[in-house]
């Protein structure tokens, strides 16, 4: 074990959640700049601000719209997540999210639950097309990047912060490098501490962002809030983006299929089902 290196840390609220940054040998000023990066990119990708790039793309459905490199990369990541998950992680569930009452940031309280617009989501490649510098959302469709964006941002920001850091954006987490003592970064998961080294972690849950019987996690197969028998799933994988996709997929698969799925895709996993809860 080598001597412990100096770790800088910075905590702030953004993306509607708590964020934490840790890095070896990185000044507080640089960590504050990293917070600004989160806020700047988050402002482009949110669906809660009508002027955001994503909101503008959704508002002009049917038209090819210019998109920034960051939004383009996130949209491509959403398409990749759809492929990776066999369609279970589908960014085209926005109409169902709105019908479920998730019309504004959760801190402002839920909207009205109608479920009138809830229907099985279209296959994402039918709802979203991306080409270099441009994207088009199909008429009647809508895109929500949600956790995909947080995982993507954790991965990208960790690249910007250097070779030895942790980025935690509301539980979507990327650990890079060997940590302050060369043993990895100590990260909590389900009450245990795991040493992560060049790995990502994420938790998907139906216990938070919940109002009444509704919650934010939409099952694209039904268009309704998911009820699969699992309440919460945490995983460790190679990246933050992959962890987000695997955790959400496992939760949507339910308690019968999730263990085998996690065994094939995750390095560590925690499953909490209805009976456990």
């Amino acid at each position: 074990m080598r001597p412990e290196s100096q770790v800088g840390s910075h905590h702030f609220e953004a993306l509607g959640t708590n964020c934490s940054l840790f890095a070896v040998d990185r000044s507080q000023g640089r960590l504050v700049e990293d917070e600004f990066w989160v806020r700047r990119i988050g402002a482009r990708l949110t669906r809660f601000k009508p002027e955001s790039e994503l909101s503008q793309l959704n508002a002009h459905a049917g038209e090819w719209r210019p998109v920034s490199a960051e939004l383009e990369s996130n949209l491509r990541a959403a398409l990749e997540a759809f492929e990776m998950s066999g369609g279970l992680v589908n960014a085209a569930v926005l109409p169902s999210m709105l019908a479920s009452g998730y019309t504004r940031p959760i801190a402002e309280g839920p909207g009205v639950v109608t479920l009138a617009g809830a229907s099985p989501a279209p296959a994402l490649p039918d709802a979203l097309e991306v080409r270099e510098g441009e994207a088009r959302v199909a008429i009647g469709a809508g895109i929500d990047l949600g956790g995909i964006a947080k995982g993507w941002m954790a991965d990208r920001l960790s690249e910007l912060m250097g070779s030895n850091c942790v980025v935690n954006l509301g539980g979507d987490l990327r650990a890079r490098g060997a940590g302050p003592r060369g043993l990895g970064w100590p990260v909590g998961m389900a009450g245990a501490t795991l040493m992560l080294r060049d790995q990502g972690a994420a938790t998907s849950s139906v216990l938070r962002r919940r109002w009444g019987e509704a919650h934010h996690l939409i099952d694209p197969r039904t268009g309704l809030p998911a009820h699969t028998g699992l309440h919460e799933v945490s995983v460790v994988t190679a990246t933050g983006f992959e962890a987000e996709v695997v955790a959400k997929t496992a939760l949507l698969l339910g308690p019968d299929l999730a263990p085998a799925y996690c065994a094939s895709r995750a390095m560590a996993w925690w499953l909490s089902d209805v009976h456990d809860a």
Partner: protein, 74 residues
């Protein structure tokens, strides 16, 4: 004589190729840290934690240290 020579050379080539292949394979073992195979064949230790089942594969090291940060639902 010529037929015997051809057979001998063919046999020698076959044995040589077999030995060379064996040496190559044993010196290029599959990476034991590859993410898919070990986690499927050896899923790791499962324990009950916080009302759920926590499984830790061989590529993740548990520790008794307090965590610096955590993954959680937000």
């Amino acid at each position: 004589m010529r037929v015997f020579l051809v057979k001998a050379v063919a046999t020698a080539l076959t044995i040589g190729a077999t030995v060379a292949s064996a040496v190559f394979v044993t010196s290029h073992l599959k990476n034991p840290a590859a993410p898919l195979q070990p986690s499927v064949l050896n899923a790791g230790a499962s324990t009950t934690a916080l009302g759920g089942t926590l499984t830790v594969g061989p590529s993740v090291q548990p520790t008794n240290e307090p965590p610096m940060t955590s993954t959680y639902a937000s």
